[in-house]
Symmetry: C2
């Protein structure tokens, strides 16, 4: 309840409609900076919607490659109840974790004489150890069509503010495991994966990740890092997202709306009829 | 034409509809990394939709506070036609510009013993010199309602890919000056403001900036940096965006759809009837 309250603000606004202005109360999606650090070592600051902060930090550290397993985290400390204005999480790492200055801000490798390109960016992710998700699950198209309504039913903040992104994990049969919301799409995904990491559920080899916005490059990267075989979104992916999904073997579904979707990569994991595929129509 | 082509990719996908799978061709919004540097000094790497790269870099450097005027830029060099794979811009600054290591990655100040909060974040922006936009223009609600249809008519890529954000500048009477698109919301705004900077049009004291997505914290910050008095979006702002707009005197309009909108901050710049305001209805 407490966290739920922190994710919404109520404020006075002026609504204009057809020439008539009215003062009304309106809900806003809360956005506040969160500082991550390990003792005196700064790990970064991110803007996020308060709530599930430990999951956010755990998911961020994992999908960014700073840690590679649950055991790399000894503790995640947030301030107690009386200091809720203090937006920080203090991370204690296992002694084996190597922290470099700037390691949490250098998301892309630059520096080659010819500039950077999509191919170099993907090669860097391979060097970081990202591999094709290990999964032999065949997903049912009808199951996929049932996911967006379940996500909407589970979203408690979005309907009131219109400003939050959601990410949700589903079992192979379409059972909702967890849903997380945030003003930032990446944060919603980090919270979801952080939940799985802290619950000892990684890799998520049989699961579907559904995001309310686009399935962009960084969302694809985070999904692969968590071993997720199928990423679905209700909107369009980018060219680099599709390229990365194809090269690293993630199944990428977009425009999942009603009884229609588009498969951009990895269609071998979706049970579509081969005859229909060749026959067209 | 060339830049337009680079912003779209065409690819083969599988479309599933009501049990029937078909191979079709589909347009994707292009996303590629762009490296910014000044000689050997790295300024950062961002994912963006190719096109208007010089504007993107100029707008980013300006709204991030690295430069404060057109004259701070001596040149922006992009590779010639034969090397379009090279995604970089080389910036030559005026000798007066001070570059610090990490200056382009440290967007928020952290480090106080009590963590960070919205108030500290806004205080930091004040220290950077952000001030209330100087404008005495009174904007017409009917003019505002006419902007989203004009933006949609001008957007050439969005309709085909469904994956791009747009930002557009309008005159006080609603005339469209420029529209820029990008896979990233911040980039679309940086390209728009960069266009104005390079054209010697800053500050934009009488203009309206319309964005296709949310009016989030960083979009508010960029608008104020450019002197824009009115930021409008078709969706919801966050709590921190509203807080910053109120404290620094930006007029913030959300949910601008059809003949309705919500004023979150600075309603003195919008010509709404005071009697209607108090009378309600």
């Amino acid at each position: 309840m407490k966290q739920k309250k922190r994710s919404i603000d109520l404020t006075q606004v002026t609504q204009w409609e057809d020439g008539i202005a009215t003062r009304v109360e309106d809900y806003l999606a809360a956005e506040e900076p969160l500082e991550m650090r390990s003792g005196n070592f700064p790990l970064g600051v991110t803007l996020r919607t308060p709530g599930n902060d430990e999951e956010l930090v755990a998911g961020f550290l994992f999908t960014d490659g700073i840690i590679s397993r649950r055991e790399d985290l000894i503790s995640l400390q947030t301030p107690g109840d009386k200091t809720i204005e203090r937006n920080f999480v203090d991370v204690t790492f296992h002694p084996d974790v190597q922290l470099e200055a700037g390691s949490t801000t250098r998301r892309f490798s630059a520096g080659s004489a010819c500039g950077v390109c999509g191919k170099a960016t993907i090669a860097e992710l391979r060097r970081r150890g990202l591999r094709r998700p290990k999964s032999t699950t065949l997903f049912d198209p009808e199951m996929l069509c049932g996911l967006p309504p379940r996500l909407r039913a589970a979203q408690d903040v979005f309907a009131r503010t219109g400003g939050l992104h959601a990410a949700a994990l589903f079992s192979p049969t379409g059972e909702l495991l967890v849903v997380r919301e945030d003003i930032g799409r990446h944060n919603a995904v980090d919270k979801t994966i952080g939940w799985a990491l802290l619950a000892g559920r990684l890799p998520l080899s049989d699961h579907v990740l559904l995001v309310s916005g686009r399935g962009g490059f960084e969302i694809v990267q985070k999904s692969i890092a968590a071993g997720i075989p199928l990423l679905a979104s209700v909107s369009a992916p980018s060219s680099l997202a599709v390229q990365l999904a194809r090269e690293l073997g993630l199944t990428l579904v977009g425009f999942l709306r009603g009884r229609r979707f588009v498969i951009y990569a990895g269609e071998e994991r979706i049970a579509v009829s081969a005859s229909a595929l060749h026959g067209g129509s």
